[in-house]
């Protein structure tokens, strides 16, 4: 196991390096400049671009990039927050998104699993149909519709919650209250996702012989389900729940915009649109790192959840 993990970690470094390198060239091959003042004289524009080595051959720029990259320094932002270090930007932005996402996670995992179990146990009965329809509604209706409707009816018309998230930096009660609607809006999708997989997997497990055995040994349906069937359903579930944990660092573009949360949601899109290469590369690197770690954890979790599976084992 330890050897496997070590092997994977080494490979991860290589993969990361490849991702970052390929992305570097892809990003820089986009046409356009970070200077968006169309009236600026050409030579002035060129002089400013020269300062950031943007007119040199790509391979040379790549060299400059690597020099800083080995120290995990992505340099300073050139468009999104000019002159501010990229890592510092992320360090201020990520916690803002995380604050909302953690609550959404705390809400959606238990609710999703419980709904899923309930639906599976009552398969093809009324609760199952109601839950299934809700799940599908949550998955299929775009999040901006939910977010806008929540904001319009609950915050604006009824006045139960503030329209936008308050500006306090620490987590106070009033801040939490103002975060309720975005938390809800964020949770619907993940609740639905978890519930649907739980249900699907459980339905399969409930038909198996070991359940029959468990029940014949005198376990109740609920006991048998939670202790035996659930455990067998965790493998596919790990595939979606573990990424949710690591995903709390990302933000939702639409929901953050609607509730005015200054989080990560728009950073990548804005960085790409503004040709802010340092920020784009920084975001890309840190998120790839988290993503790769997630995949590793998911893979390892297979073996923990079901000892029969030997990760890395051959055919």
């Amino acid at each position: 196991m330890a050897r496997y993990i070590a092997q994977r970690l080494v490979l991860m470094v290589i993969t990361l390096f490849v991702i970052v390198s390929v992305s570097f060239f892809v990003l820089h091959s986009m046409p356009g400049s970070f200077i968006n003042d169309p009236r600026m004289p050409k030579e002035v524009k060129k002089a400013i671009e020269d300062k950031y080595h943007l007119n040199e051959p790509l391979i040379v720029q790549y060299g400059y990039f690597l020099k800083d990259f080995v120290r995990l320094d992505f340099g300073i932002s050139i468009a999104l927050q000019p002159k501010v270090n990229v890592n510092k930007i992320l360090a201020t932005k990520i916690p803002v998104s995380m604050q909302v996402n953690i609550f959404s996670l705390i809400l959606s995992i238990p609710v999703g699993i419980i709904l899923g179990i309930w639906a599976a146990l009552k398969k093809n009965k009324i609760p199952d149909h109601v839950i299934s329809i809700l799940i599908i509604a949550f998955i299929s209706i775009p999040s901006f519709v939910f977010a806008s409707l929540l904001q319009y009816f609950i915050a604006f018309k009824l006045g139960w919650f503030p329209i936008v998230v308050t500006t306090e930096q620490t987590l106070t009660w009033s801040k939490f209250v103002s975060m309720v609607l975005p938390i809800l809006a964020l949770s619907f999708g993940s609740i639905a996702g978890i519930a649907r997989y739980t249900r699907a997997e459980l339905c399969e497990a409930l038909n198996s012989e070991y359940m029959l055995l468990a029940k014949s040994k005198g376990l109740t349906q609920v006991q048998a389900t939670t202790r035996h069937a659930m455990r067998n359903s965790f493998i596919p579930l790990a595939n979606i729940i573990i990424p949710m944990f690591t995903g709390i660092m990302g933000g939702s573009l639409v929901i953050e915009k609607i509730f005015s949360i200054p989080g990560m949601g728009s950073v990548m899109v804005e960085a790409i649109n503004a040709k802010d290469y340092p920020v784009a590369m920084g975001v890309l690197f840190w998120y790839s790192l988290v993503g790769l770690l997630t995949i590793l954890i998911v893979d390892l979790s297979y073996g923990i959840i079901d000892p029969r599976i030997r990760i890395g084992g051959r055919k």
């Binding site: 002035v44 927050q81 002159k83 201020t92 915050a155 987590l171 009660w173 649109n273």
Partner: protein, 587 residues
């Protein structure tokens, strides 16, 4: 499963602790409410608060800022030599001295200007501010190593300071540049060529690139090679010198400004405290306004309908005339080179529908120079109000289908086969897409789908401009903003010498007129200058390198408690004069 139960328990615990804190909070709020009731009588003396929304500001370094959100903030917190304010007597704008005692004096030919600064000026932290700070700031603005993007403001704009460009390029010493602090209170600026007063004033008015920066903060934020500074990247690195100071700045979320006690012009403004929140979603803004959480809100076309008859509406103006540019030098589509074809497009342009039905608040504009631009600054007279401008204006907003067909027939005859053209529009604008869709239908219906085929293509906006610069387009939307007070220098974008030219128009006659009105003999000849401008406009309308479409107007609403000092009129330089307006106390 146990683990999940544990999670649930933690969650519940967490929520209940939060709820616990909350109760305390509520209590204290009730307490403060009572205090507030007691102090009700003292409400008259309460600070006047203006609550508004804005966009993100990416930087508050005056040497590199780019967006209007940033210049709005800078107008609050950065002072300058002069200020422009609303004058109740003339009911118009007025230039006054801010850090300068009064308006500058000039030598006879208008190339050397001298500012006298007030004594005892201070930064918001109480440290002194004088002419040396200004000299340092301008030195940094043009610093060859920093390569600040606002540097061109003093060598490629209305005002060109002697040797400024050379210094920026690193080709001369600072001593050679035409900016000198003669003593602590005198600043002398030498220009390459004379300019009219208003252009010079404007360069040194209001918070922006020519505002002073505080040396100790600017230097402290420098990196080792002196190529970057973190000035203006956080509240700590943004000293204020304007009528307000930055009290709080949470990036991408909110800013709070309060009156700066050291500002010499602070008493002109009635508002004591400005709270500005970043809200990017338009519907959210409108709801905040309706909910009385903010005092003013801008409305776009989609939301405008609902408030079209609301008495709180006011309209702001723009210096841009949006146009459809035509690649009149097209290699592979010779009919684009045919002026008859371009005129056909001009006369078939349904500007009224575009302005009123798509943009809702825009005005049809069959002309080049926006109706907001001032031609006679002393009287506040706009160019479009002059006789010369009226003489070049086409009939009926330039909408004449018969004429359009006539021109098209000629062009079609000359070309002889089906014309295929592509309109490129910005991918981030629904309205632009609608205009493109409308034009496709209008042109194809009028000229016949068998004779002209129009394709549409969405392009990211900066790529769209690049395409136009490189001549890789057929038709494409674009527009130039420019100074309100100088419609002449705005014509630079159509001259052959302009390096970021997006049209393919070339005329020596036009260039000569431009030179004479901006740098030549006509500068101080008011009437002839206006006539020359009309002539330039006429040349453009005859050649049709682009088809002018509309002039946007921004609709916004102010809360009942605000009595706008301009009575809802939008004036150059001061807008609605919000900060000078009368605010009834907040309920």
């Amino acid at each position: 499963m146990k683990r999940f139960l544990l999670l649930l328990v933690i969650a519940t615990l967490l929520c209940s602790t939060l709820a616990g804190c909350g109760n305390k909070d509520v209590d204290s709020e009730v307490g403060s409410q009572e205090v507030a009731d007691e102090l009700d009588e003292a409400k008259e003396n309460e600070p006047v608060v203006y609550r508004t929304t804005g966009s993100k500001t990416v930087t508050l370094n005056p040497h590199i800022y780019q967006t209007t959100a940033e210049s709005d903030t800078m107008s609050y917190i950065f002072g300058n030599l002069l200020a422009i304010v609303y004058d109740e007597e003339t009911e118009n704008y007025k230039f006054i001295g801010d850090h300068a005692v009064d308006l500058p004096t000039r030598n006879e030919d208008g190339t050397v200007w001298t500012f006298k600064l007030r004594e005892g000026l201070k930064w918001d932290d109480g440290t002194p501010l004088n002419a040396r700070d200004y000299e340092y700031s301008y030195k940094m603005l043009m610093d060859p190593k920093l390569k600040n993007s606002r540097g061109p403001q003093v060598f490629d704009a209305d005002v060109v300071v002697v040797n400024a460009k050379k210094y920026w390029d690193g080709e001369c010493e600072w001593e050679d540049v035409g900016i000198k602090a003669l003593d602590d209170y005198t600043l002398e600026i030498t220009l390459e060529f004379p300019v009219p007063e208003v252009d010079f004033y404007l360069t040194f008015t209001g918070g922006g690139a020519t505002s002073p920066v505080q040396e100790k903060v600017y230097e402290a934020g420098m990196n080792e090679d002196r190529t970057e500074t973190n000035y203006g990247t956080s509240k700590e690195t943004t000293p204020s010198s304007g009528a307000y100071k930055l009290e709080e700045w949470i990036r991408d979320q909110m800013k709070v400004y309060v009156k700066n006690e050291y500002s010499p012009i602070k008493d002109i403004y009635t508002v004591d405290r400005v709270e500005s929140r970043v809200v990017e979603d338009e519907n959210t803004r409108v709801q905040l306004f309706e909910n009385n959480d903010i005092d003013a809100v801008g409305l776009s076309g989609a939301n405008y309908d609902k408030y079209a008859e609301d008495p709180r509406l006011v309209f702001s103006k723009s210096t841009t005339v949006w146009s459809m540019f035509i690649n009149m030098a097209s290699e592979d589509k010779p009919f684009l080179r045919d002026v008859n074809f371009r005129k056909a497009l001009f006369y078939a342009m349904d500007r009224k529908t575009i302005a009123e039905d798509i943009f809702k608040t825009a005005k049809p504009a069959p002309y080049v120079v926006s109706s907001f631009k001032i031609a006679v600054p002393s009287k506040g007279l706009t160019y479009r109000e002059t006789e010369a401008a009226k003489s070049v204006l086409p009939q009926n907003d330039g909408y004449d289908l018969e004429l359009a067909k006539e021109y098209f027939d000629k062009a079609y005859e000359a070309y002889g086969k089906k014309m295929e053209v592509e309109i490129q529009y910005f991918d981030n604008s629904e309205n632009m897409k609608r205009v493109a869709e409308l034009l496709e239908q209008d042109y194809e219906n009028l000229f016949g789908a068998d004779r002209i085929d129009i394709q549409l293509r969405a392009v990211p906006w900066n790529n769209a401009y690049d395409n136009m610069e490189e001549g890789k387009y057929d038709l494409g939307f674009g527009g130039w903003a420019g100074g309100v007070f100088n419609p002449w220098s705005s014509m630079e974008v159509y001259t052959q010498g302009f390096t970021s030219k997006i049209d393919q128009f070339k005329s020596d006659e036009f260039d000569e007129l431009y030179r004479r009105t901006v740098k030549g003999d006509l500068i101080f000849k008011e009437q002839e200058r206006i006539e020359a401008l009309a002539k330039m406009e006429k040349i453009l309308l005859d050649e049709v390198p682009f088809v002018p479409m509309y002039e946007p107007e921004g609709a916004s609403m102010y809360h009942d408690r605000i009595e706008l000092i301009t009575k809802g009129k939008y004036l150059p330089g001061v807008g609605f004069g919000t900060l000078q307006s009368h605010f009834a106390p907040l309920e």
